[in-house]
């Protein structure tokens, strides 16, 4: 019998959640366009480490004097733990770069593929596992 680590197990689950669409996610993932990528950089305003989905609210510079608040879905606590996250991995005030698959409705909303800290360290989001999506950016080290 082939044994896999708990992390591998959860990675497999995460992949299935996304490749199977509505099947395992809390709701349909149709709201995101996984064939597209957007990269934003800003200051973390709030981390909602919550079920059914966790979110990071990111304040991104827009026009001069304007801050655009992005809502970025980052998975769920149990999935993220198994992707190497901890609840305090990202804290309000952190400057981060987020590569994400955007919402189809054009709003500042998306689902995380890869989060990169100022020092180059990275955390993967569940969306990076989606079959058929573009490969994640290779900048920085994990």
């Amino acid at each position: 019998m082939k044994l896999i680590s708990r992390r591998q197990w959860w990675m497999a689950i995460a992949a299935r959640v996304l490749t199977l669409g509505t099947a395992l996610a809390h709701h349909s993932t149709a709201e995101f366009d996984y064939t597209k990528q957007v990269t934003i950089n800003g200051i973390v305003k709030e981390v909602q480490w919550t079920n059914p989905h966790s979110f990071i609210q990111l304040l991104v510079d827009g026009q001069p004097g304007e801050k655009i608040q992005w809502s970025v879905e980052i998975g769920s606590p149990s999935l993220n733990i198994n992707l190497g996250w901890r609840k305090d991995s990202v804290k309000p005030g952190d400057r981060v770069t987020m590569n994400l698959s955007p919402a189809r409705n054009g709003k500042p909303y998306g689902t995380l593929r890869v989060l990169t800290f100022a020092d180059g360290k990275q955390l993967n989001g569940v969306a990076a596992q989606v079959r058929g999506s573009a490969p994640p950016p290779s900048t920085g080290t994990k």
Partner: protein
């Protein structure tokens, strides 16, 4: 000290004798005193709060010793509470109460034990917590609402130590804060007067200047029942998420349930007790014989999803029915088995199902999300018959519907070595399916000592509902998180 102990024992024994004699002469059953407070099952049964305190105080009646920063948080919450704003308490929108908040709510709870698992089954929105009596070390991978409780017995006192408690919850309705470094130690015992005493010890150097203790009391009530409570329905009806007072009266569903009848199986029942996990996730029922009415509903959902809408079912609206646990096994389950009842605690979706053994359905069955389940052994197979569904549940992620005419028969067969459990479910629902059909799901033993938990109502994001298709109108949300403008933080707001 030793001499004193010896003398104390003598006094205790004499006192016990006097109390027993007094009890007998007063016509009390002798088991009310003494025997009720002995043994590992002295705590089992249904308990109702003597007084559900809005505010926890120390044993001497003082405010807990908050540090300066926490005192400011608490003062602000007190101010908000006076204005009717309880948004600091996530039970306001039906999210997890946490510990010990749930013990301060005016709802009954039941303690059940099977082997070295002891479960608190709470009467508020399907919450339960599982205490590991094997006493192993815990290293919480992530904080949970109910934490990771581990218990052991010290004489007649059950000592439960809980770590890994998420800091989003409050200790009481008044908004007493805590951090994730809190250690909660409970000492539970049945007093001579029959009450259950829970002595809480809170150690949290991030929040309090020193450890402190508080006392909660509960009493038995023969009429009390822990029934399926679905908080989102309550707030959708304009009621508060936590009722101020809650009658412990039995629900019609259970009040009239027939008493057990003798089993016709002489051989000992196979052991299903313990933690199980699905061998594979089942999430689709691909060949259900949908009727025209059923097909129409599924087609409407599929069309909405093709249009890019998010489809909301009972599952995603945080009020799943028991049928979903049969067709879509997810995460771990804990089975607690006794000759009278099989209790199934589900991690995701969070739910408790009860199977009355060797019983029959009541005549005046009241419909519910979980239905009414009765079971009997057929050789090595437990047969569970369930009726009384309310029709608000879908079979799978495609939204295949069910009606109140739904009837399920589960056949649960453990492997000879007890390592796996096959469950075959035959589904009959003439409203939406042309004929009965059967699906099979497989489970295996889990080494886990604690289930995780799924707090479905924790973060109702507006985006989830902006472009939504609701399979049933009831699934529309009542509460939603509103993002703050600028630096203002988000807040969950419920409409009335």
């Amino acid at each position: 000290m030793q001499q004193g102990s010896s003398r104390n024992w003598t006094v205790l024994i004499l006192s016990g004798l006097l109390i027993c004699i007094a009890g007998i002469t007063a016509g009390m059953p002798a088991t009310t005193v003494g025997a009720a407070a002995a043994g590992p099952d002295s705590l089992t049964g249904i308990w109702v709060p003597n007084a559900a305190p809005q505010q926890l105080v120390t044993v001497d009646g003082s405010l807990p010793p908050l540090n300066e920063a926490a005192a400011k948080v608490y003062a602000e919450r007190s101010r908000l509470r006076q204005t009717g704003d309880t948004s600091f308490d996530q039970t306001t929108w039906c999210a997890g109460p946490g510990m010990p908040r749930i013990l301060t709510m005016p709802y009954p709870f039941e303690i059940r034990r099977d082997g070295d698992f002891l479960a608190f089954i709470h009467g508020w929105y399907r919450w339960h917590r599982v205490v590991d009596l094997a006493g192993g070390a815990v290293d919480p991978p992530l904080p949970l609402t109910m934490g990771f409780p581990v218990g052991h017995w010290e004489g007649d006192t059950l000592v439960i130590r809980t770590v890994g408690l998420i800091d989003a919850t409050v200790l009481d309705a008044a908004g007493m804060p805590h951090s994730e470094h809190m250690t909660l130690t409970e000492r539970l015992r049945v007093l001579e007067d029959g009450r259950l005493e829970d002595r809480l010890r809170v150690e949290d150097p991030d929040t309090f200047t020193k450890p402190w203790e508080s006392l909660l009391y509960f009493r038995r009530d023969a009429a009390a029942r822990v029934t399926d409570d679905v908080c989102p329905d309550r707030i959708a009806d304009g009621q508060p998420a936590v009722l101020g007072t809650r009658s412990p009266a039995a629900s019609p569903l259970q009040k009239d349930a027939p008493a057990g009848v003798p089993s016709n199986t002489a051989a000992p029942a196979p052991q299903l007790s313990g933690m199980w996990e699905p061998k594979t996730f089942g999430f689709m029922v691909p060949e259900a014989p949908l009727s025209k009415a059923g097909s129409d509903m599924v087609d409407r959902g599929a069309a909405a999803m093709r249009d890019g809408k998010i489809m909301h079912t009972a599952w995603t609206s945080c009020r799943p029915g028991a049928i979903s646990t049969m067709t879509m096994p997810r995460e771990k389950i804990l089975l607690l088995q006794s000759p009278e009842e099989l209790t199934i605690l589900f991690e995701m979706p969070r739910m408790t199902r009860r199977v009355r053994m060797n019983s029959t359905h009541p005549d005046n069955l009241e419909s519910s999300y979980v239905g009414d389940s009765v079971g009997h052994w057929d050789g090595n197979t437990l047969v569970v018959d369930t009726l009384g569904f309310n029709g608000y549940a879908e079979l799978d992620a495609r939204g295949q519907p069910t009606s109140p005419r739904l009837h399920t028969v589960e056949r649960m067969t453990p492997a000879a070595d007890g390592s796996s459990l096959d469950i075959e479910v035959t589904i009959t629902d003439p409203e939406y399916y042309d004929r009965p059909f059967t699906i099979k799901r497989n489970w295996k033993r889990s080494a886990a000592r604690h289930p995780f938990e799924y707090d479905c109502m924790e973060n109702p994001r507006a985006e989830d509902f902006e472009n939504a298709y609701y399979v049933r109108d009831r699934y529309r949300p009542t509460c939603m998180r509103v993002e703050g403008e600028g630096v203002a933080l988000s807040k969950v707001v419920c409409r009335r």
